[in-house]
């Protein structure tokens, strides 16, 4: 034991002193390494803070800008016009329904005659197309002075031959009888550029159709008259509204121009004030003086608009009376079932529309041009505005609701699809799969994350869209609401692809959550005689539920923030989806918070109200993501009994 030599001990003092050999710039390398790691971690935090600051800096000015714009909108009288003009939009829909009903009704009688006429026109056109060159040559020869009769003769023969050949080669549809086909062929062969009248049989076909059409119009006289009355009723009112709108727009443009020049002048004057060079200063001041425009007398021009309130009200009242009469005159019956439905819809729609118009007219008196636009109403106009209209010649509106609805509906579809798939897959992989299956399933699902989202969008356009459309046309699936679908690119399509993208996140996190369930719970359940399924559903899943919920929420975060797929696949219609369609609404197109930023930010001028509005959307998106992530963490912490 004591055979080993004891190493010589250093003197006591030097043992306790810090070694001075290994220092860099006087700092202990241990500390340097610590600082290095710490600074790397803080970079992430700093970047996050910078993002927030940047978003806020660009976006927060939106509210005052939009406030100014809305103020101008009111002061120039645009708002006044919209009081009547907005409800008047409904007129278009009613009118188009009526027109459809009328033409469907008329067609019941006149369709065969019209088809024959149209077929004849089409055939004639085909012959003319095929013989265009000889005809052109002949026309030129005829116009030449002095005329060359021989040449004309040659061209005439050529044209006749070409016409004959073309007329013979035509495919005559079955609507013509054999004799008619023959006659048509003869007539088409004889077409010459001099004769502008239609060939006799074609003329007869035209006359046939006119007769049938007249007959149909007599038969459905009530419907036709009602439709005409309705259309005519709109005109005087629309005229007045259009005049007022033109005036308001003119005022607005002047006001905007004045404002631009005014800001410009102020900026020049400021520059001049700080300029030291007297020459420069003089030129700046001069420029500023030139940048003066006449201030618009808003009060004066608004009087021109509000002065016609009484007239406008009178017109609205007249309009309402006439359309109500037209509604009362609408016949009970129409040519076809579809037309009858349309007519009934219009009959019910008109009184509602008339009521709305009257109510709108009542609001005109209460409207004040100089009522200030409060910041709260601007916030309301953004967060609860139902219109997102940009680059409009009339007025831009930045309403958030259509985008938010689109995003939420798509996210909901995606989560509803992805949750069962990923959670069930996680339960299977964690509890039932053999080791070999696990080794296969996990990497494959995790690989989905590596697929670029633009590729998925491409798949959505080329594959999923067509697939959904084809499936929606299967006759035995017609009970599904919304089938058959109109648009290939819609919210359901986007939701499916986003679900696919969310699966890896949700699967991996759910699987982790199940993995974290203590082994002891499973022991206890097994020892009590529970079957595997009982253990899974009564013990493991309830114990892992917090992790699973938080996985779902993080999946939701991923889905809400995803851009490329929704931009490509969601259909990009900026309107609140029509929820009156019931669950079938998911097959309508929509736009999203992320999509709108990606689509429009590149095209707007920096600093404009549109630019700021997009940043505002970005801020809200950021807030939603933060909230979702925070909820996910809170949920994970809330139900984590086995870690307590």
């Amino acid at each position: 034991m004591n055979s080993l030599p004891t190493p010589s001990r250093p003197p006591l003092r030097s043992v306790l002193l810090r070694s001075r050999k290994h220092t860099i710039l006087g700092v202990d390398p241990q500390k340097l390494i610590k600082y290095f790691f710490g600074s790397n971690a803080s970079v992430a935090i700093i970047v996050l803070v910078l993002i927030m600051v940047f978003l806020l800096r660009e976006g927060i000015d939106f509210l005052p800008t939009y406030q100014r714009e809305l103020q101008t909108y009111r002061r120039a009288g645009l708002e006044f016009c919209d009081i009547i003009d907005q409800p008047l939009q409904r007129n278009q829909a009613l009118s188009s329904s009526l027109r459809q009903a009328v033409s469907a009704s008329l067609e019941t009688l006149s369709k065969p005659a019209r088809d024959r006429r149209d077929a004849a026109f089409l055939l004639k056109r085909q012959v003319e197309d095929k013989t265009a060159r000889p005809r052109e040559s002949l026309t030129q020869a005829l116009e030449k002075t002095p005329p060359a009769p021989e040449q004309i003769e040659v061209f005439r023969r050529e044209l006749a031959e070409a016409s004959a050949a073309a007329a013979k080669a035509l495919e005559y549809p079955a609507v013509f009888s054999a004799a008619e086909r023959e006659q048509l062929q003869r007539e088409f062969s004889a077409l010459t550029p001099e004769v502008t009248d239609l060939p006799p049989l074609v003329q007869k076909l035209v006359a046939d159709f006119s007769a049938k059409d007249r007959e149909a119009r007599t038969k459905f006289a009530a419907l036709v008259t009602a439709q005409e009355e309705f259309e005519e009723a709109t005109e005087p009112l629309q005229e007045v509204v259009d005049e007022l709108k033109a005036k308001a727009l003119e005022t607005k443009e002047k006001a905007v121009e004045f404002e631009v020049l005014e800001t410009n002048r102020k900026r020049l004057l400021e520059a001049a004030a700080t300029e030291t060079d007297p020459k420069e200063k003089a030129s700046l001041t001069k420029e500023a003086e030139e940048s003066v425009s006449e201030a618009v007398d808003l009060e004066e021009s608004i009087k021109e608009i509000t002065g016609r309130t009484a007239e406008l009200r009178e017109q609205v009242e007249k309009y309402a009376v006439v359309i109500e009469k037209a509604a009362a005159d609408l016949p009970k019956d129409a040519g076809t079932g579809a037309a009858r439905t349309l007519v009934n819809d219009v009959r019910e729609g008109i009184p509602v529309h008339a009521r709305e118009m009257r109510a709108a007219a009542g609001k005109l008196e209460g409207w004040r041009w100089d009522k200030p636009v409060s910041i709260f109403s601007v916030i309301g106009a953004f967060f609860f505005g139902t219109q997102w209209i940009t680059n409009s010649s009339w007025q831009d509106f930045f309403g958030f609701v259509p985008l938010l609805t689109g995003s939420l509906v798509i996210a909901a579809i995606a989560i509803l699809i992805a949750t069962p798939v990923s959670v069930v897959a996680a339960i299977y992989t964690n509890q039932f799969a053999s080791e070999r299956e696990k080794e296969m399933i996990k990497p494959v699902i995790e690989f989905i994350q590596a697929i670029p989202s633009v590729v998925l969008g491409f798949i959505g356009i080329s594959l999923v869209g067509n697939l959904i459309k084809d499936v929606s046309e299967w006759s035995w699936l017609q009970w599904v609401p919304g089938f058959p679908i109109q648009e290939r690119l819609n919210m359901f399509n986007a939701g499916c692809l986003l679900a696919f993208m969310a699966v890896p996140t949700m699967f991996s996190l759910s699987e982790d959550a199940l993995n974290n369930v203590p082994r002891a719970y499973i022991d206890a359940s097994d020892a009590l005689g529970a079957t595997k399924l009982q253990t899974v559903f009564r013990v493991i899943v309830p114990a892992g539920i917090s992790g699973i919920l938080s996985a779902i929420l993080l999946g939701l975060g991923r889905v809400v923030g995803e851009t490329m797929v929704v931009l490509l696949v969601a259909g990009n219609r900026i309107a609140i989806p029509d929820f009156s369609a019931g669950p079938g609404v998911i097959f309508h197109p929509a736009h999203t918070l992320t999509g709108i930023i990606a689509q429009e930010l590149g095209e707007v001028s920096r600093g404009s109200s549109h630019w700021q509005a997009l940043f505002m959307v970005g801020i809200v998106l950021f807030a939603i993501s933060l909230l979702v992530n925070w909820c996910a963490r809170a949920v994970a912490r809330r139900f984590e009994p086995h870690k307590a």
Partner: protein, 262 residues
């Protein structure tokens, strides 16, 4: 030999292990085990770490089935006269007859009530009054009813360690098993909780047959009627507890009890 003589006057053993060999894949863990567990008696399994006492315990309710490649390679295990490895034995029913309590308390993250009712629920019991009755009876047996009757719907994980372990006992006896297996039930508990559980065991023996694994020889002396000493996978000695501790027949037992293993 005295164990055999008592067996003739009392009903047949509830658990009987006959000439059993057990192995984990290629490595053999138990050799030629013979053991009889009598009704309403506490039987203790003692022995040094890794001697196979827990494995033997888990053979009785086939908990070892969950380990792939673990197998009884020779002999048989009879519970109430039935070979538990027969093809017609329902594992669920076996585990209903043979309850188990683990080394570390493992209540589910559910309410106290749900923990106790779990065993009955998975065996299809839905009647509320039956469940209520079973929960009260089981908690009373586990000496918890008075403490917990007012907060049956509190989370079981809020209980103290000793309470949790007694709750696990209540959960195991709720299905009224014949045999209750306990795998070092006090090893993670403080002395007072341990004392309570030891007291409980005497009570439990009136209703159930208890097999307990313990590394604490004093505990074996205090609670058990019979003791089996295992060493390196072999059952060295099995005798009434008093006899085994005061007058061991085997030298190996004696040296283990004295704490002088060579």
């Amino acid at each position: 030999m005295s164990a055999d003589s008592t067996a003739q006057s009392t009903p047949p053993p509830v658990v009987q292990v006959r000439d059993m060999d057990f192995s984990y894949g290629a490595s053999k863990a138990l050799f030629d085990i013979n053991l009889k567990v009598e009704y309403h008696r506490v039987t203790a399994l003692i022995g040094p770490s890794g001697c196979g006492k827990s494995t033997l315990l888990r053979c009785i309710n086939r908990m070892n089935d969950r380990v792939p490649s673990a197998r009884v390679t020779k002999g048989e295990v009879l519970v109430k006269g039935k070979n538990i490895h027969d093809a017609d034995v329902d594992l669920t029913q076996l585990r209903k007859q043979v309850g188990m309590v683990f080394q570390k308390s493992n209540p589910f993250p559910k309410s106290i009530y749900e923990n106790v009712a779990y065993g009955l629920r998975i065996h299809g019991e839905k009647n509320k009054s039956v469940l209520d009755e079973a929960v009260e009876r089981s908690l009373s047996h586990a000496a918890l009813w008075e403490e917990l009757k007012d907060r049956l719907h509190a989370n079981a994980l809020a209980l103290s360690g000793g309470q949790q372990q007694r709750l696990c006992i209540a959960r195991a006896i709720a299905t009224v098993p014949d045999v209750l297996l306990m795998d070092e039930p006090c090893s993670a508990l403080d002395p007072i909780s341990t004392l309570k559980i030891e007291e409980l065991m005497h009570q439990l023996a009136k209703e159930f047959t208890v097999v307990i694994v313990t590394h604490n020889m004093q505990q074996a002396v205090r609670v058990s009627d019979y003791t089996a000493f295992l060493h390196l996978g072999k059952l060295v000695e099995f005798a009434p507890t008093e006899e085994l501790f005061t007058n061991p027949r085997e030298k190996l037992t004696e040296s283990y009890l004295r704490g002088t293993f060579s």
